[in-house]
Structure formats: C-alpha cells, structure tokens
C-alpha cells in the first residue's frame, strides 16, 4: 500500500495520473469508432502531422500545444476535404497528408538545428504536466465525452449504415468532420501524455483488445476505457519507480493488455 500511496504525495504525480486517465478515457472512447470504422491509420496520420505545428510554434516562441492543435486540425480537415473527391480515397488522403506534414516538420527542425527541445512532444512526458496543461486536457476530455454521449446513437448509425443515416436527414459529412475534429483534440491531448509517436496506440490498442473479449458496443466501450485507465495508471507508476519513459510505459501496458485478451480469447475458442 505504501508503494501505491508514496508517489501520490507529489503534485506532479497527481497531475500525471489525472491527465493520463482523462487522455485515456477520451482516446479509448474515440478509438472504438476508429477501430470499428477501420480507419486505424488516422491516429498515425494526425499524430505525425503535429510535428510542423510544434516546430513553427517553437520557432515563434508560441504555445507548442496550440501549434500542434492547429497542425492536426488542418490535417484532419484536409483529409476530410480530399476524401470527398472521387479519385482520392480516404485511405490515400490519410496516408498522404501525414507524410507531407511530417516532411515539413523535419525540414523545419533541420532549419532550427535543434532536436532536443521537441523530444518531450515526440515521446511524451506526462510527469512534466503543468496545471495549465491539465486544464486544457480536462476541457478536451469533457468536450469529447459530451459529444460522444449526446450523439451516441447517431455515431453508431453513421458507422453501421451511412446511407440509412443520410436518408433520415443526418448530415454524414458533418458527422465525419466532427469525428475528425474530436480525434484531433484527443491526439493533441494524447501528445502530452504519450507523445506524438505513441498516441495512436491509445486510440487503437485498448479497443482492439476489448474487441477480443466482447461483441457488444457498450461493453466494448467500457472495457476499452477501463483497460486504458488501468494502463495509464500502471504506466505512470512504472515511469516513477523505474525511471522509464512515461509514454512508452503506458503504451507497453496497453500492449500487455492486448496480449492477455488474446490469450483469453484463444483459451475460450479452444474450450468450445
């Protein structure tokens, strides 16, 4: 018990735990729609697109997360816009935009001649989260959860039968953009926890793991959220006790959860 309570006396650990749980809940809830719509690459696309925004903000001396948010939102809206064109498939736009944005980021980094200052953005440093960051993450989490809860039935219909949604008057294009904007917000929040490179794991791995043990939507969401919360807390503790990278610890815990769920499914299938 002492081992669990001891880190909690530090403010930075309390902030890290709260932030990781909020990021985990928003990412895993959105992740359900990402995995079920089979657009898992969108997370990679958006996280990698943050780089030029971060670098430009760094060069201008502006808020780095604001820079990341603008770059990610721009990419999300461009993916949505390009995919409307018949000759550009959604996965093509999703594959193209991040590589161009990432290349722009690398070009800008080489012009600043410094890699050091961007490392926490790329690999995450949840133990360094400030109260201001926590407020931003909380607002993002509240917005995401509120939109997903209030629009649950419409998002569900949008995923399972887009045409029917359209015939009853739902604007499916708007739904797609809303999902992309929410993903952008979650990615920006996730960058603070696990970094730009690893945030995609928070979107995909918990849902992929939960999908192995349940076939129903609400239990799937709850399992994914529960698993993410456990992984985020475990990751923060591992990071504290073993001086490991916080982002990598959280993602590795998610990977372990997936492996456990996979073994559970394997045992169940063999028993049947």
């Amino acid at each position: 018990m002492h081992g669990i309570l001891e880190p909690l006396q530090y403010g930075f650990i309390q902030r890290a735990l709260l932030a990781s749980v909020l990021v985990g809940v928003s990412c895993s809830l959105l992740g359900v729609y990402v995995v079920l719509r089979r657009i898992s690459n969108i997370g990679h696309a958006l996280t990698h697109s943050a780089l030029p925004g971060i670098v430009i903000a760094f060069m201008l001396g502006a808020n780095l997360f604001l820079g990341a948010l603008i770059a990610v939102l721009w990419t999300a809206l461009m993916i949505g816009f390009l995919a409307k064109e018949d000759k550009v498939y959604e996965d093509t736009a999703t594959g193209m935009m991040p590589t161009v944005m990432f290349a722009l980021g690398v070009l800008l980094i080489s012009s600043t001649k410094s890699y050091r200052d961007m490392s926490s953005m790329l690999f995450g440093n949840i133990l360094g989260i400030t109260s201001g960051d926590l407020v931003l993450i909380s607002v993002i989490a509240i917005v995401i959860v509120a939109v997903l809860v209030l629009g649950h039935k419409e998002f569900q219909l949008f995923c399972v039968d887009k045409d029917y949604a359209k015939t009853i008057g739902i604007n499916v294009e708007t739904m797609r953009y809303v999902l992309l904007v929410l993903l952008s917000l979650s990615v920006v929040a996730g960058i603070q926890a696990t970094g730009a490179i690893l945030t995609n794991a928070l979107l995909i791995v918990p849902t992929a793991a939960a999908r192995l043990v349940t076939d129903r939507l609400i239990p799937l969401m709850l399992t994914a959220v529960g698993m993410t919360v456990v992984c985020c807390v475990a990751g923060v503790y591992c990071s504290y006790y073993f001086s490991l990278s916080s982002g990598a610890s959280i993602v590795f815990c998610c990977g372990l959860c997936f492996a456990i769920c996979w073994i559970i499914r394997l045992c169940k299938t063999k028993r049947m």
Binding site: K153, E154, V160, D161, G169, D215, L217
Partner: protein
C-alpha cells in the same frame, strides 16, 4: 404536451399534399460521375398512392439509382422529383429505403434489436432516447418477420436471408407511407421469400405504397398492381 424534438434535417417537415401521387418523376437523369455516364436518362414516372409497383430490370438498368434519388442519397443531374407532392427531403419521415445488404457493415458489434431500433431514430432526432413505444414497434416488426428469437443475436452472426428480414423489419418500424425496397427477394431462402411476400401483401392492405426493385416479375403472384421495366437507365415498358 409537445414532445422535445430536434430534427436531423434542416428542411421543415411538410405534410403530404392531398391527392398528390406518392412518387412523381419528370425527365429525371442521374449519374455517379458528374453526368458523363448517366445511370438514369430522362425518366418520367408516377407512382400512385397505395399502389404496389415492381421495378423490373437487369443489373445496371438503373433501379438502385432511381431509389437512391428518391431516397435523397444521390442528387439528380436534371429533372424533378416530388414525394407526396413535396420536394425531396421535405417528407423524409414518410419514405423508407431498403438498401441492398452489401451497404451495411454487418461486422459492427450491434444486436438485431438495436439495428431494427435505428428505424425509430427519425422520430427521435438529436438528443432523445428510445422509449417503450419504440421498443414495442421494434418487437412487432421482429414478430412479423418471424425473427423475434434473433433479437439479441449479433448482426455479424446472421445468414443472408436473416439479414434481409432484419432490414425489412427496420423499414417497417419507420412506419413510412412510401417504401422503396431494393431487391428484397434477391438471393434469399424459400422461407424468407414467403415471409417477405406476406409482408408485401400486408403493406398493400394497409394502404402503403411500395416500389420493389426486382430482376424477375411474375404477374401470377399478384404481389404488384403494375410493373415498370427499366433498361440502360430508361423506361422501356409500363404494364
């Protein structure tokens, strides 16, 4: 007391015009590639209220395209469409489109009952949840299609015939006056065929208007009042 309702659609719901036909098309053309290869060419058609019409034609004849235009899924490149005398979208609660099975993501983790209940969403709009009345309607439709025993089954575990019945059940719970059914009898087992035929007969006795796309038309079955034959996007015969 007036129920809280935020419509999905910015169009105002308009009441059907008295004596207007269920569906009226005038010189309608539509295509999937900005008009280069029209899938429908100058189609004019009137479907009277309460009628049951077969839309007959081979693959690529334009049957599904006609339905997509009437269901407001595809914008016509030219021509006019009226549903119960109103513009497209103004009466969308009164029109239901039964798509071909391939347009649904059957791997989505949803039960049969949940999918059928989506047919009630049009009456709920944003922010409102399903209530007892919606569930009652859904169970009635499941019983009519003889699939109440599948209510809690995942849609990923259904056979082709069962999938078709689930989609028809969803169309029924919408309680629409005009039903656009895209090949409901295509590639289904004998039991499903019989059940669907009974549903079509029942809809006719209830005074609903049905337009059914089919490859095959048999006058002897007595399911339809009229048949419209489509070929290469054009109407070739009306009988």
């Amino acid at each position: 007391m007036k129920r809280f309702y935020i419509s999905y659609c910015h169009h105002r719901h308009s009441a059907p015009k008295p004596d207007a036909p269920a569906l009226w098309l005038e010189n309608l053309s539509a295509s999937y590639d900005s008009g280069h290869n029209p899938a429908l060419k100058n189609v004019s058609l009137t479907i009277p209220r309460g009628s049951s019409t077969a839309l007959v034609g081979p693959n690529g004849a334009g049957k599904s395209t006609l339905f997509k235009v009437a269901a407001n899924l595809l914008k016509p490149s030219s021509g006019r469409v009226k549903i119960f005398g109103q513009a497209l979208g103004a009466c969308h609660q009164r029109v239901v489109y039964l798509p071909q099975r391939s347009s649904i993501d059957w791997q989505f983790p949803l039960s049969v009952l949940d999918l059928v209940l989506t047919g009630r969403y049009v009456f709920l709009g944003w922010l409102r949840s399903l209530d007892k009345k919606d569930h009652k309607k859904a169970w009635e439709a499941l019983k009519e299609l003889s699939i109440e025993n599948l209510a809690q089954r995942q849609i990923s575990q259904l056979s082709g015939g069962q999938q078709q019945r689930v989609l028809i059940a969803r169309a029924l719970v919408q309680d629409a006056d005009l039903l656009l059914l895209d090949e409901p009898l295509n590639a289904v087992d004998a039991q499903t065929r019989e059940i669907v035929q009974n549903v079509l007969t029942h809809l006719k006795t209830e005074g609903k208007t049905t337009l059914v796309a089919t490859h095959y038309f048999n006058k002897e079955e007595g399911l339809y009042d009229a048949a419209v034959y489509l070929k290469d996007g054009e109407i070739c015969t009306v009988s």
